[in-house]
Amino acid sequence: MKKANLNFYISSKTLSLNTLYDKIWSLHRVTELPEGSTQLFVGLHLIHEVTSPQAFAALDEKGLKVLCPERTIATVDHIVPTITQSRPFSDPLAEEMLQTLEENCKKHSIKFFKIGSGNQGIVHVIAPETGLTQPGMTIACGDSHTSTHGAFGSIAFGIGTSQVRDVLASQTLAMKKLKVRRLWFDGKLNQGVFAKDLILHVIQKLGVKDGVGYAYEFAGPAIDHFSMEERMTICNMAIEAGARCGYVNPDQITFDYLKNKAFAPKGNAWDEAIKWWKSIASDKNAIFDDEVRFNASEIAPTVTWGITPGQAIAIDSLIPSPESLEKSDQQIALEAYKYMDLKPGSSLEGLNINVCFIGSCTNGRISDLQKAAEIAKDRHVAKGVKAFVVPGSEQVAKEAEKQGLHKIFLKAGFEWRKPGCSMCLAMNPDKLENNQISASSSNRNFKGRQGSANGRTLLMSPAMVAAAAVTGAVIDVRKLINKKI
C-alpha cells in the first residue's frame, strides 16, 4: 500500500496546541536563544560508555563542572560481552571505555549502575524499570533510541556527543520545537501479532524519513490496551520512522507500572505525582499538526526483507517489486535485493535462518522473553541454527530466571546470556559472520549492522524469532501458536 491510500488529515498551518509535547516543552523552556532555538531543561540525562567520554573530556578542557550531577545516571551496555562479564574485558578498548566511564562518574559524582549492581543493563531498559523514567520529564541520552522513554509520556530524544557535553555543563540543550503528528490506532492486535509488528507496519507504511521534524504521539484504543513494555517497543522505533521522539499519554497503566519502582515517588508525593501526570496528557481538544489513522486488527506479523526498517512486509505477502514502490524508494530497494540476496515477488516464509537473536532495547524485556519462551517451550532449536537470548538488563535476567524462562530456553537449545546490547550493533563479541542471515528482535537492519560487512538481518517480533529458531526458517508464528509442529 502506498501513502496515497492512507487516511491523512493534514492541517499543515496549524501548530499543535495542548498536546503533551507542547505542555512539557513550555514547562522546560529556559529561554529563547538568539539564533532562534529554545534552551530546554533536561530533566533526566542518561549516559553510557560510547558517547560520553569525549563529552567529559570536552568538559575538562573547558574547565567546567557537571551542573546537576544528580540528574545524570550512567550504565554500561554497548561494549559489554554477554558470555562472561569478568574484568578486565578481553577487548582492551572495551575495558578502557568502561574504565573511562567509571572514572568520569566517580570524578563528577554521577550515579553509575555497574555490572553486578542489579541495575545494569541497556540504558533504555534500566531507566524505565527502576522508575527513573517518569511522565512529564524531558529525557536526553547520547543514543538515538532514547525515544523509548516516551512510552511514559515524557519527551525523550537522542543527542550527539557535543550536546552530551552541553547537558553535563548546563543541564540544558539548544533545541528547535518539533511538530506533533498523532498516529491513531483503532481496533486491537490479533493473536500472534505484537507491538513490534505494529511499529514495523507503521514504518513500512509511512517510510523511514516521514517522521523527520515530528514528535509522534501514539494513541487510540489499541495503544490504550498496550502494556508499558509494548508502548516502549513502539516508541523505541519511532526514531526508525524518522521521528526524533515518540510518546504515549500517561494513564492508569503507566501509573500501575511505576508504583513502587525504586525511584518512583512514594507516599504523599505519589498522589501528587499522579495528579500532575494526568494533567500533562494531551487534552481532549488538543490540536495536532497532522494525523494518520491505522486499524490494528489489520496488522499481520511483519518482517523486514531489506536494509532499512521500512523495507518490511506482512509475513503472508510477497517481497515487493521495484515498480510497486514509490520512485524515491526504488533505488534502495534494488540495493536491498542485491545485498540480501532476495528476489522481488518471493516470500520470506521458508527462508532459512542461521542466527536467532532475542534481545535489545526494543524487545529485551520480560514480556518479550515470555512470548518467545511460549514458542520455545517443548520445542527445540533447529539443527545448524545458533539461537541466543540476551536479557535487556540484570533485573530482566533475574525475573526471567525466577520464572524459569531460562530453563525453557536452555532446554530448547537456546543460549542464555548476560545483559547488554549484544548483537543489536555488535560492538562486542556477538557478531554475525560472513553473509549469515539473522532473525533479530532488535531495531536496525542496516548493512553491516550486526558485525559482519555482508551479514543480513531480518527484524521481527521475539515470538517470530523464536519460531524461526525452532523451525530453522522464517515462519508465521500464528502457525505455531496452540499447535504442535
Binding site: L132, L173, F263
Partner: protein, 212 residues
C-alpha cells in the same frame, strides 16, 4: 606535540603568534587525521597524529615537523582545505597540535563549521596577498603576527595583509557566541528557575540518597 596553553575560550578578537605554511589544494580530513585514530575514548592524543601519514612519508621534512614551525599557532593553507569526511577529529587534531587560527584561500564547509564550534577562526586571504604573506614568512620564520578579526587583517611588525571573514562568524567570535555551552551556561539563573518549577524534581532528588 606542544603542550599547549588553553584551548579557545570566550570572545576571540585576535590570535597572535608564529605562522606556518602548508601547501596544497584539497587537503582532506583523512589526511589531517587518518580513520584509524577515530577509535578513541577522547580527543586527547589526536594532536600527536595530525597529518601522521604525510609526515612519516616526508621523514621530518613535513611543515608540522620542521623545527622553525614547532611553536607556530597560525596555519596558512591553500584552497578547499578540510574537504572530505565530516569528522570533528580533524580540527580537534589541529587544535591539539597547537593551531589557533587558519588562513586559507578557501575552506570546505563542514570543516569550517567544526572549527567554528571549537573557536578556531578560518579566515580567507586573496591569492596575491597570500603569495606576499608566504614570501615574507619564508624569509622571516620567527616573525610574530597578529590576526585581528575586527579589523580584518593580519600584521607583522612591518606589514599589513587584508583578510576576510563572513559577518556572522565574525560576530560569533567577537561575542564568544561560537561556544554553545557558554551561552547555555550564561543562563544559569533562568536554568535554576526552570528547574525549581519542575514538579518532579523534588521527589526525584531522593535519588542520590539511595544506596546503589
Amino acid at each position: 606535540m606542544k603542550q599547549d596553553t588553553l584551548f579557545p575560550q570566550g570572545s576571540i578578537h585576535s590570535v597572535t603568534g608564529k605562522c606556518m605554511y602548508l601547501s596544497g589544494n584539497d587537503i582532506d580530513t583523512d589526511r589531517i587525521i587518518p580513520a584509524r585514530f577515530l577509535k578513541c575514548v577522547n580527543f586527547d592524543t589526536l594532536g600527536n597524529h595530525v597529518f601522521i601519514d604525510d609526515r612519516s612519508e616526508k621523514k621530518g621534512m613535513h611543515p608540522f615537523d620542521q623545527n622553525h614551525n614547532k611553536t607556530a599557532n597560525i596555519l596558512i593553507v591553500d584552497k578547499n582545505f578540510g574537504c572530505g569526511s565530516s569528522r570533528e577529529h580533524a580540527p580537534q587534531a589541529l587544535m591539539r597540535w597547537g593551531i589557533r587560527a587558519i588562513i586559507g584561500k578557501s575552506f570546505a564547509e563542514i570543516f569550517y563549521g567544526n572549527c567554528l564550534t571549537l573557536g578556531i577562526p578560518c579566515v580567507i586571504i586573496k591569492e596575491e596577498d597570500a603569495s606576499s604573506l608566504i614570501n615574507f614568512l619564508n624569509k622571516n620564520h620567527d616573525s610574530i603576527f597578529k590576526l585581528e578579526l575586527e579589523k580584518k587583517m593580519i600584521t607583522s611588525k612591518e606589514h599589513i595583509w587584508e583578510i576576510s571573514i563572513d559577518n556572522s562568524s565574525q560576530r560569533m567570535f567577537l561575542s564568544g557566541g561560537w561556544d554553545a555551552t557558554k551561552s547555555l551556561i550564561n543562563q544559569i539563573e533562568k536554568i535554576q528557575t526552570t528547574k525549581s518549577n519542575l514538579p518532579y524534581i523534588n521527589s526525584f532528588q531522593k535519588l542520590q540518597e539511595k544506596p546503589s
